[in-house]
Point group: C2
Amino acid sequence: MNIILASTSTLFGGDYLEYLREEITNLFQGIDEIIFIPFARPGGISHEDYTQKARSFFEKINIKVKGLHEFDDKIAAVNNAKGFFTGGGNTFLLVKTLHEENLMSILKNNVENGKPYLGCSAGSNIGGQNMKTTNDMPIVYPSGFDCMGLVPFNINPHYLDPNPELKHNGETRETRIKEFLTQNDLKVVGLREGNWIRGKNNKITVEGTELTRIFEKDKEPYEIKPGTEL
Amino acid sequence: MNIILASTSTLFGGDYLEYLREEITNLFQGIDEIIFIPFARPGGISHEDYTQKARSFFEKINIKVKGLHEFDDKIAAVNNAKGFFTGGGNTFLLVKTLHEENLMSILKNNVENGKPYLGCSAGSNIGGQNMKTTNDMPIVYPSGFDCMGLVPFNINPHYLDPNPELKHNGETRETRIKEFLTQNDLKVVGLREGNWIRGKNNKITVEGTELTRIFEKDKEPYEIKPGTEL
């Protein structure tokens, strides 16, 4: 396996994917074309415009990008691809589309057989066991919440620490994940911005600049350092 | 119809339901017992403990509270009830439970026939057309997202304005609701904390201390004042 599941595509004040440039170059070494999966459509952007955004980054590292929406036979396109990048946006929309097009298991098989995969945010959520720890709004109803399960846990991208100054009674991210654990027995990786999960061969580590917060059933949450194996 | 759909149960620094005491007294006038629906289980609290929390407030205004989980025949309990209060928590868990127990349409019929209904947060979401504008984490998979539709729009409780100082790339609430509108043509009422929707007879107004932000397809979001009819 050869994957990166990143918390975010863009650091505050930075350019799209720029903080991951070296990692991405390394991930896709020897590959000159990838398929971009634009279905999460952040802010409702069109598939075309979103693919163009990905293309603008990847042309800087000499990798061509085709949008999966461009293909009539998307299953064949995934099977024939050399690598994949799934962009962020709305996880419900992404998962609904992948299930409707019967692409979730096809993509999983291709990645598990060694094709490099980059996910950001929603694109990282689908690398987990299921999408039950997404932060996104359920704007559409998917036929199921199951995802690729490339890693044996769930991811919470854009993990945000409670802000003690906020005079607001919406639940904190930690409260939400603890609610998840009352209904599910599955590890959750709270991935702060600036961090990513790296899977290579059989080793899965957390990388980046920040500590990572881990949630497990009936345990106090705890922090792990970059480089720690998951 | 005689309903209150509130953004939150508790204002910052205040006690549970206290800011709504006068409104709640008015809503349940002439009624000495209500059924509390505890299924949203905030933070994973038990049905019993959550019902006790509601009971502690309602005994101050001389209204008895029974938890819906106490009844073997929950449909009969709803049909025999004099009024209802659904507490906040996780909307996915609440909606899943109501659908599993075939209670969503029973509750709707009872409220539409005039029994008073109070909802807070998740309990307000289920008064809308569907739960596609909840802020909650999808910790369980409900058999559908449809709700009671007591009002001809959707609600976004705990509506939060974008914070320009936040160095974080998670979507703002406004971005999320705009994503909803790319997939759905339905008005969304962004209900800030301190505000509630009041439905009495055929009139629906927004009440409270704050402006309310309204989102509609292909329109710029706009603000309405307390007292405005919806």
